[in-house]
Symmetry: C2
Subunit: 474 residues, 2 copies
Amino acid sequence: MTEQNPQTEFQLMDEDQLSVELIEAQYALKDSRGQSNAKSLVILVSGIELAGKGEAVKQLREWVDPRYLHVKADAAHLFDFKTSFWQPYARFIPPEGQIMILFGNWYSDLLSSATHVSKPFDDSLFDEYVHRFRAFEQDLKNNQVDVVKIWFDLSWKTLQKRLNEMEPSEVRWHKMNGLDWRNKKQYDTLQKLRQRFTDDWIIIDGEDEQLRDQQFAQHVLQAFKDCPEHPKTVEQSWQQAPIPEALLNPDNAALDEGDYKAELKKLSRKVADALRFDDRNVVIVFEGMDAAGKGGAIKRIVKKLDPREYEIYTIGAPEKYELRRPYLWRFWTKLQPEEKICIFDRSWYGRVLVERIEGFASDLEWQRAYAEINRFEQDLTEHQTVIIKFWLAISKDEQEQRFKAREQTAHKRFKITEEDWRNRNRWDDYLNAAADMFAHTSTEDAPWHIIATNDKNSARIEVLKTILKQLKAD
Amino acid sequence: MTEQNPQTEFQLMDEDQLSVELIEAQYALKDSRGQSNAKSLVILVSGIELAGKGEAVKQLREWVDPRYLHVKADAAHLFDFKTSFWQPYARFIPPEGQIMILFGNWYSDLLSSATHVSKPFDDSLFDEYVHRFRAFEQDLKNNQVDVVKIWFDLSWKTLQKRLNEMEPSEVRWHKMNGLDWRNKKQYDTLQKLRQRFTDDWIIIDGEDEQLRDQQFAQHVLQAFKDCPEHPKTVEQSWQQAPIPEALLNPDNAALDEGDYKAELKKLSRKVADALRFDDRNVVIVFEGMDAAGKGGAIKRIVKKLDPREYEIYTIGAPEKYELRRPYLWRFWTKLQPEEKICIFDRSWYGRVLVERIEGFASDLEWQRAYAEINRFEQDLTEHQTVIIKFWLAISKDEQEQRFKAREQTAHKRFKITEEDWRNRNRWDDYLNAAADMFAHTSTEDAPWHIIATNDKNSARIEVLKTILKQLKAD
């Protein structure tokens, strides 16, 4: 939706009628859960102080069924070098069928940051943020989370009038939350800044209270009903990337057991120190065929670390509550600034591997995922996070031998299921999917490392060396 | 389990065998999900630095299936006047079938607090904390969350030897996490303090690494298998409390519309200020029959507040992921120190109202719930939280009239369902349950207020006045 001039054509509705329609649309949204047209809705609310966004939301709560409308209001998160704009909000992204109003959001954080930090943002940095926000919102929309943005505006004159009429306790409360609204220059700066992003927002004038509440509610009603037609299929045929030689021939020179032990001891100590004392967060991702040795490699990385220093996530099929949100959501919520070292035994790349191959993601979805994943990783790498990605490459014969050995070892039997044998039948599909993954997601800041693992020991050494190298290089 | 002398009778197991048994027991635990013997397991791990708790957990991770064993390690949460000991950990309480190892936990917080704060704890305060912890753990156990506590001990001599042999980078890391372990006096103090709570802990000596890892793993194995027989039925017959007159006769004097409006204007402003500027958090709970006017009363409380200042929780039937945890869990996670004003439209009292009446909780469970709820509320009220509890009392006739009016009002129709009519048939059961609830949970710090609501307007005024009164009185 683009900026309109709503006053000219806007029609007040009968309040009871509006309420009935809101409730019905809300229930339809809720009942869509689990169906192909399911969606959730995020409403970003920002605006000038005293324009009445709080009042409008309160009125809306009275017209709808409040059990299914959530409101979240955080104090501003000023941008810092360690936090990506979506990290404070990831956990509030609602599941299918639900509605979340975000008072505090990435735009209000941007405005606060741009006006509060000692060194003001220049326009190009500001615009770069807006550009990122929009890409993120588009990713949300493509993954069934609609985003509606509503700006409550107020003229300088009316703002001053309302400030004059305010109760003393309200003055104190509003002061806590914002800028100095008596300062015309600050008001003008803010208006100029917000105009750099509000061209795809709905603008509501806070002058007239009744109009304001009705406009807000009617726009929300429209958003409840909106079910934009997303394309369902891809247009062009897919260009398969060539399979890297390293995947086809993963033989690596065997390492003498004595050399291995000495090397391992030295390297695992170095890796522990490097991870421990790096100022940045570190994310290490392992992908590869079953039995390629992901678990064993991880064990050697953490050998000299204390379990309190890292998290290992073993990623399997998503839970139901995860399926009701964008597939990246379960990683958004795990990758937060306070997590120093995170190791993933399988990862978000499942989208373009198993989900592609098993058809859990449509062609359109997995093809779109490369760019989504790149944006996700870029947001992290630009905020003091190193991402080190490994593909452990094994030959089909070697896998078979390891499967059989597992079946014969009592305490490893749980590691091998019929599904693993089934996956072997799709060996070439996985090679092709991996090839495409390397072609599309091996970026400068988060490159893939293909490690030949037919010899386990030398593979483990290689992984440790690669970690040290990437940590130093970055 | 009480402190044993495990060395004398302890048997090392074959490692593969141990691993097989651990995995099998872990899978049995996991597969119990949804069944009557389902449980989850919390393992609290604490101990002397360098006793090897990290190593033992790491070894355990290699013997079990790591996908179903979670490890959480937080830096110490020093006790403050606003935070109850369980608040930082509530979200880590695992659902049925899962296992969570907590490195940082309420005991390590207590030790840190007792040794770090400027004014040391006296013994009776320390013991009071331990007493609270145990009551909380018993509540967890009664609600299918087993708690196992394991202390890794180490002699002064060995500790000093290990400190001498430590790599420099480890010294730096360990320094970050703890006390000065070179200080004999501090070591002795800590040992003396921990002996105030470890009599129901498993003590593992960290001297011998192999013994240590095996003892830990074998105790965990035992904990996986343990399914303590909880009594399922109550012994005595239940003593029904008399129904308060106010519930039987909820007629209140009608208020003149003009007086009401003037009074409401004045009071809603006062209530907003009182809530806004109270240094404490405020929790307001509404219970009462359907159509008693909970929503309307809440609306008047927040009339002069901005939605960013409060949260309203409308509590319905629990979701599946909530059912897999203790019934208080969904309130533990909502009631956190950063939430300034929380209003509950229905609440944790559902346990002793609808769950009692509909048989979702057994007699034993709802009868036990009064004490659980009192402890829960006490933990909050002792940490700068005011709890104001309302029962809105309505007569059966008045309810019928309101139901019928709702059915005839399009935008209120969603508020009335067949279930509401069905609940009417259990009117007397609800009165009895409410009477018992008042008798057992109206405490000095969190009393119940019964408000007659046959006249809505005067009920709303009464609610506002009561809030002001309790805020001032506390």
